[in-house]
């Protein structure tokens, strides 16, 4: 089939064949691709932008900070016990002379890396399980959803607490896997629901009727069309995972000593919060700021990716009012 219509020979397509002169209208929108639009909308949200800067800064600080400090989190300064912040120890020291800055950075590092990994793993698992169940339905759906329901009713905190003696002394990777294992179920259910609707969309049917195998359809058509949900979910999951990890570590079930995380620090020094506030305030402050920043970014992403979001319009109204005034 190498027939090419001569552009002039058909009244029907002549206009559209020449294209540009007639559809002059959409030309100005050309630069406005979806990605750009999302970026513009995101950048306009000041809180989200601040949140993003905070998150990037925290990751930088957590990994670069310790290199700049002369103390490691395991070192002890026997000349300084329970010192408030001063030039040598900018965050002060604890009762055995460990530098609080080094400890907080180490804790932040651990918490952030665990948060990031848990979010990535749980969102990936959720996408795969949800899309598989929703696309194939039948037995696969029943089995996977049974697992989801089972995991949902299990008290995750209790189980990790019970298992904690077993992974004492083992790699912190186990903790990541445990946390991820209990965090993907709700997202998987949402993904399944979205797959059910996407599956009925005509482009998925078209792919099926041209003979595209199911796994390619899921990878190429279904998952990318849920990207906005997955991105938002992964972002929020980072905060949830960090909170879960700190919670567990606070009670001594998470990261095990001698390693530290924000949770162990907060747990260790909670009693000193009123007497030696720097021991408690620095780790707790980092935790609060981080979770807040992640939530701002999550909100900003949701607004930017969701075309029906009203925030931008409200903003425009405000702007025009100001101009009118």
């Amino acid at each position: 089939m190498t027939v090419i219509l001569n552009e002039g020979d058909s009244a029907g397509t002549a206009g559209a064949a020449q294209g540009s002169p007639v559809d002059a209208a959409p030309e100005p929108d050309k630069a406005m691709t979806r990605g750009r639009l999302v970026l513009i909308r995101f950048m306009r949200n000041r809180l989200a932008l601040i949140g993003l800067i905070i998150i990037v800064a925290m990751y930088l600080l957590a990994f670069v900070g310790p290199l700049l400090s002369q103390w490691s989190y395991e070192d002890r300064d026997y000349s300084a016990f329970l010192q408030p912040p001063y030039a040598d120890h900018i965050f002060g020291t604890d009762n055995i002379g460990t530098d609080m800055f080094a400890q907080t950075m180490r804790g932040l590092q651990k918490s952030l890396i665990i948060g990031l990994l848990v979010a990535l793993i749980s969102t990936t698992v959720a996408a795969i399980v949800g899309a598989t169940a929703g696309y194939f339905l039948g037995v696969a759906d029943k089995a996977l959803m049974w697992v989801v329901d089972l995991l949902l009713v299990l008290p995750s905190f209790l189980i990790i607490a019970i298992l904690s003696p077993w992974f004492r002394g083992k790699s912190w990777w186990l903790l990541v896997l445990m946390l991820a294992a209990f965090q993907w179920m709700i997202t998987a259910r949402i993904v399944r629901g979205m797959t059910l609707t996407l599956k009925e969309r005509e482009f998925v049917k078209a792919a099926r009727f041209m003979g595209q195998p199911a796994r390619t359809i899921i990878a190429k058509h279904i998952v990318p069309n849920m990207a906005s949900l997955l991105i938002i979910d992964a972002t929020i999951n980072v905060a949830t995972a960090v909170l879960a990890e700190t919670g567990l570590s606070y009670f001594g079930f998470g990261v095990q000593s001698p390693d530290v995380s924000l949770g162990t620090l907060i747990g260790n020094f909670a009693q000193s919060a009123t007497t030696f506030p720097w021991l408690f305030l620095f780790p707790a402050g980092f935790l609060v700021v981080f979770v807040l920043a992640v939530n701002w970014v999550g909100d900003g992403l949701r607004d930017a990716l969701d075309p029906t979001s009203t925030r931008v319009r409200r903003k425009e109204k405000k702007d025009t009012k100001e101009k009118a005034a």
Binding site: T2, I4, G12, S20, M32, E202, G211
Partner: protein
């Protein structure tokens, strides 16, 4: 209709003089990402009591927005200026509370989607009674309102009104819901009814019922009616005056007859020329209006239609033409500087459009000249059956019934031929398509593609046969993956079927040219294209594997009329150049008549009439085909007013419980007119498909020709 006398004041309330509604220099704008959208730009019109004004335009022309402005229903972000006077009182600037006293009482509205216009949690009767109580709560008791709701439902032709008033909206069919909405609209005897695309969401047979009902409503209330539509056929027989809108302004107004016969604005001409006509047997040249409506954020100076106008001259770009009187008549006005030249052409209406826009009839394919019997059979269906089980129970599912979606249908399509498959929604058209495209072993009967029976296929052979068959879907927005570039969309079928990279890179631009798009646009995403262009991309994807058969599922019904013509023309050209066979599913019989060689009419999972398209349309034998054809409005006011319409009563019966014997008998006018002994034949015996004429079969015991066009 004795009740109407008690219910309504005398038509044309003498207390009010002059027009009911006067809109002057109305401007409406909305904020958007790209700047303010000037949705309505200086619109003026008036409606007299008892008059029907039709507002016609493409989507985005501002027709709905201007009516919502009248109702005061625009979102807060909209900025409105100008004047809207209802019975001499200014509406702009009034508070929502003040407007609420007028809305529903003096002005009422019928919306496009009857499902979302009714609250799902209240009964239909309660909702109508509420409309009365809200405005006359003081003087009308609850019981009286409920009684009146029943009377109104009866008036709008809902059988068993007292019973049905207690039903919930989901228990009503689409047509009945729209009737209930109309009952609500006339409940308070309004002076103005605004109907926004009241029939667009409905089937043709139901559309005819609803239009007739609106006429009745107008008679009993004496109200002025504004009917908004994109379909020039709908308003031809119903409206008194017409206003054509383009880019937020009126571009032509006048009496219906004048506009249809002597359109004086190229846009109106184009619209008229772009509609396939049901009453034209020979091949007709369809006028596509190239391009698409301008973006309303930053309009360049000059006539907004100029970029799409075949008669454009330099003067068109300098200033926007005002509405001026044409042909020396104060009633007929058009916004074009070259009206005189359009008036000078010899031909009238659609023919003038073809002449001015330079549309030509598409040539027939080479293969079509070979007699039908000698051509290869591309697709053959023999007694295809598809049933769905109706299950009940949560833990233990038990089967309580069967939906006979497709109940033994047979037809064949030969090389280079188009078969149109038509019928109301719910008749099994789409199920048939999905069965064909699925290539699985059917529940009953046989499907053969290019002589291969699909029941005998293994998965490898099934994959191979998918090359010869492709599909174009209805919704151009949903049929392309928004995350893929156009290049990836068109390349996908070739990747699946193992074409080499070089071959794909060579063929994709070729396909783009083939469907009339520029290859430079390949790296863009579907979101950047208009509906018509997307449908062309969908067609390019369907042609990628050089199929023998293309299945078209309502390919043009989601497009605006002017765009629709371009896509129909493209499909015809492709068929002629590539010798394709089409299975064309549609509910628009005018389009089918234009494009199809043969047509099959489906009713409740059965084909009740099939044959050569002109034979079926000019001499329909089955009462259902006759009713279907007569329900389709013809865009010609004179013809349309003379036509006798067969109005089918009721809705499509449930396919879970079809009537015995002939399935159509419950709605059949012929059956109703027969003596009882003949009626028994219809009730007891299922009519077989019998040959009526050369290549024309119908399934009716008492088939007789009846001309309806």
């Amino acid at each position: 209709m004795t009740s109407s006398e008690i219910l309504f004041d005398t038509p044309a309330d003498p207390a009010v003089e002059g027009p009911v509604l006067q809109v002057e220099d109305l401007h409406v704008s909305f904020p958007s990402e790209a700047g303010r959208v000037q949705a309505v730009r200086g619109l003026s019109y008036e409606v007299s009591p008892g008059e029907v004004l039709g507002i016609v335009g493409e989507s985005g022309s501002g027709k709905s927005v201007s009516s919502l402005a009248v109702m005061g229903l625009l979102p807060e972000s909209a900025r409105i200026s100008g004047s809207i006077k209802f019975q001499g009182r200014e509406l702009i600037g009034r508070t929502d509370a003040e407007l609420s006293k007028i809305r529903g009482r003096r002005i009422s509205m019928v919306f496009q989607d009857p499902l979302s216009a009714l609250t799902p949690v209240y009964t239909v009767g309660d909702q109508i009674a509420e409309a009365i109580l809200v405005h006359r709560g003081g003087s009308v008791s609850k019981q009286a309102a409920a009684k009146r709701a029943v009377e109104l439902l009866d008036l709008v032709g809902i059988p068993n009104a007292a019973e049905r008033a207690k039903a919930f909206p989901h228990e009503f069919s689409g047509g009945m819901r729209q009737r209930a909405v109309i009952a609500m609209a006339i409940a308070n005897d309004p002076d103005l009814i605004i109907a926004d695309e009241p029939t667009t969401a409905l089937d043709v047979t139901v559309q005819a019922q609803v239009l007739q009902l609106l006429e009745t409503a107008q008679e009993v209330t004496g109200a002025g009616i504004v009917i908004i539509t994109h379909d020039l056929g709908v308003v031809a027989g119903f409206a008194d005056r017409l206003m054509v809108m383009y880019a937020g302004r009126a571009v032509e107004t006048g009496k219906v007859e004048e506009i249809y016969q002597q359109p004086r604005m190229p846009y109106t001409l184009g619209l008229l020329g772009s509609i396939p006509r049901l009453d034209v047997g020979e091949k007709q040249a369809l006028v596509p209006i190239v391009g698409q409506p301008p973006s309303l954020t930053a309009l360049p100076p000059g006539c907004p239609f100029a970029p799409r106008c075949p008669m454009v001259v330099d003067a068109c770009h300098t200033a926007e033409p005002p509405l001026i009187d044409v042909d020396g008549s104060a009633e007929h006005r058009a916004a074009c500087i070259r009206t005189g030249e359009i008036a000078a052409t010899d031909s009238e209406g659609a023919e003038a459009a073809a002449e001015i826009f330079g549309a030509e009839v598409v040539e027939e394919a080479e293969i079509a000249k070979v007699p039908r019997e000698q051509r290869e059979i591309v697709l053959e269906l023999d007694g295809l059956v598809k049933e769905y089980a109706v299950n009940k129970g949560v833990v233990f599912k038990r089967r309580v019934g069967t939906v006979h979606a497709v109940d033994g249908i047979s037809f064949d399509i030969r090389e280079g031929e188009t078969l149109g498959l038509v019928g109301e929604s719910g008749c099994g058209k789409t199920t048939t398509l999905m069965e064909i495209l699925g290539l699985e072993k059917p529940m009953g009967g046989e499907i053969s593609v290019l002589g291969t029976n699909v029941s005998s296929l293994d998965s490898k052979r099934r994959f191979e046969i998918r090359r010869d068959m492709s599909v174009v879907f209805q919704d151009p927005m949903a049929s392309l993956d928004p995350r893929l570039t156009i290049n990836d969309v068109i390349a996908e079928p070739m990747q699946v079927h193992g074409y080499s990279k070089d071959e794909i890179n060579r063929r994709v631009p070729e396909l783009m040219k083939l469907v009339g798009l520029r290859p430079e646009q390949l790296s863009r995403y579907p979101g950047e294209f208009s509906g018509g262009q997307r449908q062309r991309i969908g067609i390019a994807r369907a042609l990628a594997l050089e199929p023998k058969l293309v299945v078209l599922d309502e390919p043009v019904s989601a497009l605006d009329v002017s765009i629709q013509a371009g896509v129909i023309n493209l499909l015809e050209e492709l068929k002629s150049k590539l010798g394709l066979a089409y299975l064309f599913v549609a509910h628009d019989l005018s389009v089918v008549r234009h494009i199809a060689d043969r047509v099959a009419v489906m009713y409740l999972g059965k084909i009740i009439e099939i044959g050569e398209v002109n034979s079926v349309f000019d001499a329909p034998r089955h009462p259902y085909t006759q009713a279907l054809l007569s329900a389709i409005p013809i865009p010609d006011p004179v013809k349309e007013r003379q036509r006798e319409r067969i109005i089918l009563t009721g809705d499509l019966p449930s396919p879970a419980n079809p009537p015995s014997g002939c399935r159509f008998r419950t709605r059949c006018f012929l059956h109703a007119s027969l003596p009882p002994e003949k009626q028994r034949t219809c009730i007891e015996l299922e009519p077989p498909r019998e040959v009526q004429a050369e290549d024309h079969e119908a399934a009716c015991h008492f088939a007789q020709i009846r001309q309806v066009l």
